[in-house]
Structure formats: structure tokens, C-alpha cells
């Protein structure tokens, strides 16, 4: 036994490492998450301005140009600077520890990918202050609006936006190459693909989607940038170009992007439901494989965003079918989680509450998603608030809730301290009520015909918009207990034992927080499937001995 080095006796690493070019995946993970939440606050502030404007039918709070810039930046910040970075943060923390790798395959590339996010984040924020203001053509940035360039300067908010998106793509590709290589090549001995935690399966699936889809957006964005600054006419009908071509490039990536976001959240659900139900994941193999069915189908559905753009009828029908089919593997996952919960021993901890709330919202979003996939309904509700409602149910209602669940669940592992349950439950309650109050009223408004992206609207939509705005403000408030919880737990929360939730997984066989190289040379040999709750089979060889050492270290830490 060479486990004696486990109690970390080395001097505590300095906090300044979080502000440096550090190559430790766990440091990078926390850097990603903290930076992402900084931008989450900015994106949230922009959302508050949007909902403030929309609480009355008239365009009276801000100028229309300002409104358009703000809604564009809200979407851009939330997607490219919050949700992708926060998920990459979780990938960085969880993938190496879950598969028993000392670090990512390419640690320096990993750090470069992170700092690129910081750089393009600054670039995007700076675009608020250039003459003419930031990009205002929506996060889709459809030409010709996006190449109109009202001031005619070479240097415009839209140009900065496109540069930022290209950098974001570069960073994501670097990340994806890294995650995929790590998962394929650096798993612990004995961990075949079918002994790999579902989070890693979903991360592998999501990152494969990034690799296939993202270059299409990057290519499309490069052409758009040339149209904007170099005078080409790829998308400009005046010069023989075709604006619809951009929509194909854009949606070929941006629809799969939704799966890039939601797949890891499926992974989180699949990790957490077994822990807090004390049961194995129901149908592990099927759940794992369903991720790749979703990847395959996800690549051939993009035209459903363009049903009203003037695509041929056969294309509409074809893409309606493929889109509908995605409901099947997704349904498999939902039912598998229900099967996991069924007859379990449910513990309603904060992470579990967020998972259950997220699942509730996700099922709702899935149903409106099937509605949107059917061409005749889509022709009525596309580009209305119905879509906005559906999308926010997916992204906020399901994905962000799942991310909160993950943060509460793995916070003790990577920070080494316990978050507070009371504040966590308050955070859950406010988030769940706020999200539903905010996003549910968007559906009736959309069904009645309220277009999205409007800065003013007809008075008949006022009732639903007032409700939505109140929900949005509640969501704004809901972040306060979260921040309080995170900061105070990090500073003076109770010390976390190595496995506070009594969970099964390689990451829980490490001390909290783990040493810089995780298991180092002593990677345990995996001998059974994950989620063996109640089966009595150990996950790794010599599990008892490892646990003993860790528990002794926990006790020693507690007695200090």
C-alpha cells in the first residue's frame, strides 16, 4: 500500500493560482465556473433591462437601438460566456477525476482555451463602448441586417461580435479536442467504455457534436465577417449572394449546440438521481448509448429552424420526422430516471431538488419542442414568444437547474467545504418559481402571435408580459442566496469529508479537495459498473483499504 501520501501535507496552494496561467484541470475548471458566473450576472442584468422594457407595451425604458443591442448581447453572453464556459468548467473538474486521469491530455492547450474565453469576453464587453454600440442583430446575426453596418466604420460592434464568436469557436474546439482525447485515452485501468460514468458518456457525445458542428458556424461567420468588412457578397443578394445560406451554416451548428448544452445536463441527472435515490441507474447501457443516438439525429434536424424561410415541402416533412425522432432517445432517458427514482430511498437534498425541478421543466420543454417540430404549428409560432418560452425552459429550466445541482453536489469535492442546505433550498425555491413564472406566460403570448425580439407590442399581450417580468425579477433575486451560499461556504463552510453524499464513483475515492495530480501513480483498477448502489460490489480493487485511509484523513482533518 502506497497510500500514505494521501493526507495533503504540502503547503496550501495560494489563491493567486486562480488568476494565473495554471495547467491543473481542477484550477481551470474553477476558473471557468467563476468567470462564467461573472458573465451570468452581466447577462442577467441585461435580461432585467429587457424585462423592464417589456413590462409595458410601449418602447419607453430604453431607445429601440439600445433594446436591440441589449437583447443581442443577453443571448450572446448567456450562451457563449455563461453556459458553454460553465459546462467546460464542470468537464474540467469531473472528467479527469471520474476516469482517474491525473489531468487533461493537453494541459497547456486547456489553459489557452480558458484564457481565450476571458479574452473574447473582454472583447465582447468592450463592444458596448465602441461608436454605434454593440451588435444588434440577435445572437443569430442573420444577414442582411447584420451586414448593414449603419456607421460604415471598419471597426463596428458587429465586427467585434463576429471576432468574439470566432474566438469562442476556437476555444471550444481546443476544449473539445482535449476532452475527447482525454476520455478516449486516459481512463483508469479496467474502465472500459461500459464502466464509464454517464456524465463522461454525455460529455463525449456533446464534445463530438462540437467538433462536427462548430466548424460550420465558424466558416459561416468568417464569410459574414468578409461581407461586413471586405465588401464580399456571400450573403448579399445585391451581389448574387444568398442570405438563407447563412441560416444553414448557423443552424447546422446552433441546433446541435442545444444538445451540447443539454447532454451534459442529462449526464448530471444520471449521476445524481442514483446517489439520492440509493439505487443503480435504471438501464445504464441504454442511457449511455441514447446520448449517441441523440448526436446522430441532432446533426440532421437543423432545417426545423427554417420552416418559414422558404424551404421545399419535402424538406419540411423530412426534418419534421428527424426532429420528432429525437423525442425517442430523450424519452428513454426521462423514463430511465423515473425508473431510478421508483422505489428508491429519496433524499431531498439541494442537488436532488434542483434535479427534480430540472426534470419537471425539461419534460415540459420537450413537449413544446415536439409541437415546434410539427410544421403547421411551427409556421404559426416560429419567431414568436412561444419559441422564447420553449428555449428558456430548456436552457434555464432544465440546463441551468442541472448545473446548479452539479455545483451543489460536487462543491464539497473540489472546494473541500460543505455548502449550506438552508440557503440552497431557498435558492431552489426561488429559481423554480421564478423560472416558471418567467417562462410559462411566454407560451400564451406566443400562441396569440407576439413576435420575439420586439421592443414594443400590442396591449393585448400586456398581461402575460407583466407576469413574465415579475418572474424575471424573482429570478434576479434568486441568485442572491446562491452567491451568499457559495462565498460563505468557500470562506468558512464546514470542512467536507471525502464522500459526504455516500456516492459511488472514482472522484469520491479522492480526498476533498483532491491533490493536484488526482490519483497520481496510484490509479485504482475499476472492477464494476458505476452506480452499484445496494449491489454490495466494490467499484475498484482494494476499495476498503482506500476508504479506510481517506476516512482516517477525514477524521484527522475534522479534529484539527
Amino acid at each position: 500500500m502506497t497510500l500514505a501520501t494521501f493526507p495533503a501535507d504540502e503547503p496550501k496552494p495560494s489563491w493567486t493560482r486562480y488568476f494565473s496561467f495554471n495547467t491543473d484541470a481542477k484550477v481551470i475548471g474553477i476558473q471557468y465556473i467563476v468567470l462564467a458566473f461573472f458573465f451570468f450576472l452581466i447577462g442577467g442584468l441585461l435580461a432585467m433591462i429587457i424585462r423592464g422594457e417589456l413590462i409595458t407595451p410601449e418602447a419607453d425604458l430604453v431607445d429601440r437601438t439600445v433594446y436591440n443591442g441589449i437583447y443581442t448581447m443577453h443571448g450572446t453572453v448567456m450562451l457563449f460566456l455563461f453556459i458553454f464556459p460553465v459546462l467546460n468548467g464542470l468537464n474540467n473538474l469531473l472528467i479527469p477525476t471520474m476516469i482517474g486521469a491525473p489531468d487533461m491530455a493537453f494541459p497547456r492547450l486547456n489553459a489557452v482555451a480558458f484564457w481565450l474565453v476571458a479574452i473574447f469576453g473582454v472583447l465582447l464587453m468592450a463592444s458596448f463602448f465602441v461608436p454605434g454600440g454593440p451588435a444588434y442583430s440577435g445572437w443569430w446575426s442573420y444577414p442582411p441586417v447584420s451586414i448593414q453596418n449603419p456607421l460604415g466604420h471598419l471597426f463596428s460592434g458587429q465586427g467585434m461580435w463576429l471576432t468574439a464568436v470566432a474566438l469562442s469557436g476556437l476555444s471550444s474546439i481546443m476544449g473539445a479536442v482535449n476532452f475527447v482525447t482525454t476520455i478516449i485515452r486516459m481512463r483508469a485501468p479496467g474502465m472500459g467504455f461500459f464502466r464509464m460514468p454517464v456524465f463522461c458518456w454525455t460529455a463525449l457525445a456533446a464534445q463530438s457534436l462540437q467538433l462536427i458542428g462548430l466548424p460550420s458556424l465558424t466558416g459561416g461567420a468568417i464569410m459574414l465577417l468578409f461581407d461586413l468588412v471586405a465588401g464580399t457578397t456571400f450573403y448579399d443578394p445585391a451581389g448574387g449572394g444568398d442570405p438563407v445560406l447563412y441560416q444553414h451554416f448557423f443552424w447546422f451548428y446552433s441546433h446541435p449546440a442545444v444538445y451540447v448544452i443539454i447532454l451534459p445536463v442529462f449526464g448530471i441527472f444520471s449521476e445524481l438521481f442514483p446517489v439520492y435515490s440509493r439505487k443503480p441507474l435504471f438501464g445504464y447501457v441504454y442511457v449511455a448509448l441514447a446520448s449517441f443516438i441523440i448526436v446522430g439525429l441532432g446533426l440532421i434536424v437543423w432545417v426545423h429552424h427554417m420552416f418559414p424561410s422558404g424551404v421545399a415541402q419535402w424538406m419540411r416533412n423530412l426534418f419534421m420526422f428527424t426532429t420528432m425522432l429525437i423525442a425517442v432517445p430523450t424519452g428513454v432517458k426521462v423514463f430511465a430516471w423515473l425508473g431510478t427514482l421508483w422505489r428508491g430511498k429519496i433524499r431531498l437534498t439541494t442537488p436532488m431538488l434542483f434535479c427534480l425541478g430540472g426534470l419537471f421543466n425539461f419534460v415540459f420543454a420537450g413537449i413544446t419542442g415536439v409541437m415546434l417540430a410539427t410544421v403547421p404549428i411551427d409556421l404559426h409560432v416560429s419567431n414568436t414568444y412561444f419559441v422564447v418560452g420553449h428555449f428558456h425552459y430548456v436552457i434555464y429550466g432544465a440546463a441551468v437547474m442541472g448545473i446548479f445541482a452539479a455545483i451543489y453536489h460536487w462543491f464539497p469535492k473540489f472546494i473541500g467545504r460543505m455548502p449550506y442546505e438552508g440557503l440552497g433550498k431557498l435558492h431552489f425555491l426561488l429559481t423554480f418559481i421564478g423560472a416558471n413564472l418567467n417562462f410559462l406566460p411566454m407560451h400564451p403570448a406566443g400562441l396569440m402571435g407576439m413576435p420575439r425580439r420586439v421592443s414594443s407590442y400590442d396591449p393585448e399581450f400586456a398581461f402575460w408580459n407583466v407576469l413574465a417580468s415579475l418572474g424575471a425579477f424573482l429570478l434576479g433575486v434568486s441568485i442572491i442566496p446562491f452567491l451568499l451560499n457559495m462565498i460563505s461556504a468557500w470562506v468558512r463552510g464546514p470542512k467536507a469529508p471525502h464522500n459526504p453524499w455516500n456516492a459511488i464513483g472514482l472522484e469520491w475515492l479522492l480526498p476533498s479537495p483532491p491533490a493536484e495530480d488526482n490519483f497520481g501513480e496510484h490509479v485504482p483498477v475499476v472492477i464494476s459498473r458505476p452506480y452499484g448502489y445496494g449491489l454490495g460490489k466494490p467499484l475498484v480493487e482494494n476499495q476498503e483499504a482506500i476508504e479506510q485511509v481517506l476516512t482516517a484523513a477525514d477524521l484527522q482533518e475534522a479534529s484539527r
Binding site: 429601440r64 442583430s137 442573420y142 443578394p237 418559414p308
Partner: protein, 314 residues
């Protein structure tokens, strides 16, 4: 449930009966929601509307059933399968059940395929109302569209979208307007063109929407079925005054419509509705500064400006 031993039969007759009763209740509720769904939509004012609404109602009912089914399980689990306060033990380890997994793959598959087939049939019917998308590459004059003779629309209207105004031209009557007038129960063909950016031709009461793509002339058919005043909204983001790019659609009886065309053709040309132009001027005068914008196109010169301020039906 914590006391349940693994050997205990899962489904007693009583529990099966309870389950059946619950399913019947859910089906009833779903049917009711399907009926409610009609009230969430604007008035039906075109031949497409009842078809779309029927499909929406059907999907609402199915969706409600699935949603309530899932939520019932979640609530049941939360009520009945909670761990006792100090119970740290694991539950009975069920790793899966192939039969169940096959069932819950097959059922969603059948459900979505049923919806898809229904939707395709609606699609085909909508298509029979007139070729829904006849896309021609920029040459609005030569092409007249290929309709079967018996379905040749009675009226053709050219729709010109601009940043930010709508102009409607009736070539047969030599009339132009910024208020769309249509005869009830008469098929009409629109030729949609844009002079600048993407716009969306969207009349919620008709349940139809079509992007207006610069560089293309898109033919688009519909048949209004209800007299009234409706809203036409720009549905594809088109820049600063996108939200203000809304005008009215007046559906009137055939006689009224001929009358209107007749009167309109004698009106002199005047500035049509362009809320954007008005706001742009006010904005310049008040010195309010925002971020950069493209100036609005000048208001179209039309015979009848009409109004977009009157109360509308949806």
C-alpha cells in the same frame, strides 16, 4: 415502502384498479386540455386556421397526458418513496428491465410518428390550398406561378417589405395601400418581395407565416374566411423599428372589397403608414441618443394609407 420486502408482489388488484382509475382521470384531463387549447389561439380567420388548431389541440392533449404521467410518477415517488430521516441504507438494486425499456422506446416512437403523420396530412392539405412556397429567383415580372387552372386565385397582391413599412399593390386594380384589404372566402396569392433585409409576413389570425427574402420573389397563397380587422406583424427581426413594423389586414365581403378597390383607385398618391419614419423624426428632434441605426426607408406613396391604430380581432 421501506418495509417492503423484495418478494412482495408489486401490483395487487387494488393497486391495479387505482392505477387504471388514475389513467382514466389523466385521459379525461388531457382531453379537456386539448379542448382548452383552442382558446389559447387567436380567432380563426383563414382556411388554414382550423387545421392548425386541430393539430395543436391534438398535440396539447397528448402532451398533457405525457406531462401529467411523468409528474404523477415524480409526485408519487416524492410522497411514498422518501428515505427515513436516519436511514442511510441503499434501496433494492434494480438495474433495469429490458421489457420496460422496449415498451418505453416503442410508445414514444408510436406517439411521435402518429403526430408526424397527422402533421404531414395537415401539411398536404395546407399545400392544396395553394402552392405554399413557390420560390422564384429574383424576377418578379415574368413568373406568374404555376397553379392548376381551377385553383387560380381570384386576386394577386404584391407585398413589398421595407425597413420598416409594408406596401400592398393590387396590379389588376392599379391600387396601392399600406393596409391590406382582402375579400372573404376568396383565395388570394401574395408575391412577397423585400427591398432590403429579411422580413416575416405573419398574420396570427391566419396561422400562416412566410419569410420575405431579399433577392427572391415568393408566392404565397391563403384564403381568409372571416370578416374582421387583423394584425399583420413582421416576424423576422429586421432592425431597429422591427417591433413597429405592424399594419392591419381588413377582411371584407366581396362587394365591400370591390367597392374599396374602386374608391381607392381614384385616390391620389400620399404617404402611407410608416411608424418608423415618425419615430425616427421625433427621435432626431428630441435629441435622444441611442446606438447607431439605419434610417428608415421613406414612407411608401400609396392610394390608401389606412390605419393601424383601430381595435383589431387578433
Amino acid at each position: 415502502m421501506t418495509s417492503a420486502s423484495p418478494q412482495k408482489p408489486r401490483f395487487t388488484p387494488v393497486s391495479m384498479l387505482g392505477l387504471a382509475a388514475w389513467v382514466v382521470l389523466l385521459i379525461g384531463l388531457s382531453w379537456w386540455m386539448g379542448q382548452q387549447a383552442y382558446h389559447w389561439l387567436p380567432v380563426q380567420a383563414s382556411t388554414a386556421a382550423p387545421l392548425v388548431d386541430g393539430l395543436f389541440s391534438f398535440e396539447t392533449a397528448i402532451g398533457t397526458f405525457v406531462f401529467l404521467g411523468v409528474v404523477s410518477v415524480m409526485v408519487w415517488v416524492l410522497l411514498m418513496h422518501r428515505a427515513d430521516k436516519y436511514d442511510e441504507s441503499d434501496a433494492e438494486p434494480i438495474e433495469g428491465n429490458t421489457r420496460l425499456e422496449v415498451i418505453w422506446t416503442a410508445i414514444p416512437f408510436v406517439l411521435v410518428m402518429a403526430i408526424a403523420v397527422y402533421a404531414m396530412r395537415v401539411n398536404t392539405t395546407l399545400g392544396m390550398l395553394g402552392p405554399m412556397e413557390h420560390i422564384h429567383l429574383s424576377n418578379p415580372v415574368e413568373e406568374v406561378g404555376g397553379y392548376p387552372g381551377d385553383r387560380l386565385p381570384a386576386e394577386q397582391v404584391e407585398v413589398i417589405a421595407r425597413q420598416w413599412s409594408w406596401e400592398f399593390r393590387y396590379p389588376a386594380a392599379n391600387v396601392s395601400s399600406t393596409e391590406l384589404h382582402l375579400a372573404v372566402d376568396q383565395p388570394v396569392t401574395f408575391r412577397l418581395v423585400s427591398e432590403d433585409v429579411l422580413h416575416g409576413f405573419y398574420i396570427p389570425a391566419f396561422r400562416l407565416k412566410q419569410d420575405v427574402v431579399p433577392g427572391r420573389a415568393i408566392d404565397f397563397n391563403l384564403t381568409p374566411t372571416r370578416v374582421g380587422r387583423y394584425r399583420l406583424r413582421d416576424s423576422q427581426f429586421s432592425g431597429t423599428w422591427f417591433a413597429a413594423n405592424q399594419v392591419d389586414v381588413v377582411v371584407e365581403s366581396g362587394d365591400d372589397h370591390s367597392q374599396w378597390l374602386e374608391t381607392a383607385s381614384r385616390q391620389p398618391l400620399q404617404s402611407g403608414i410608416s411608424d418608423a419614419s415618425l419615430e425616427f423624426e421625433q427621435r432626431a428632434q428630441s435629441g435622444r441618443s441611442g446606438w447607431a441605426t439605419v434610417p428608415p426607408a421613406p414612407p411608401p406613396q400609396v392610394n390608401v394609407p389606412g390605419s393601424n391604430l383601430l381595435p383589431h380581432d387578433g
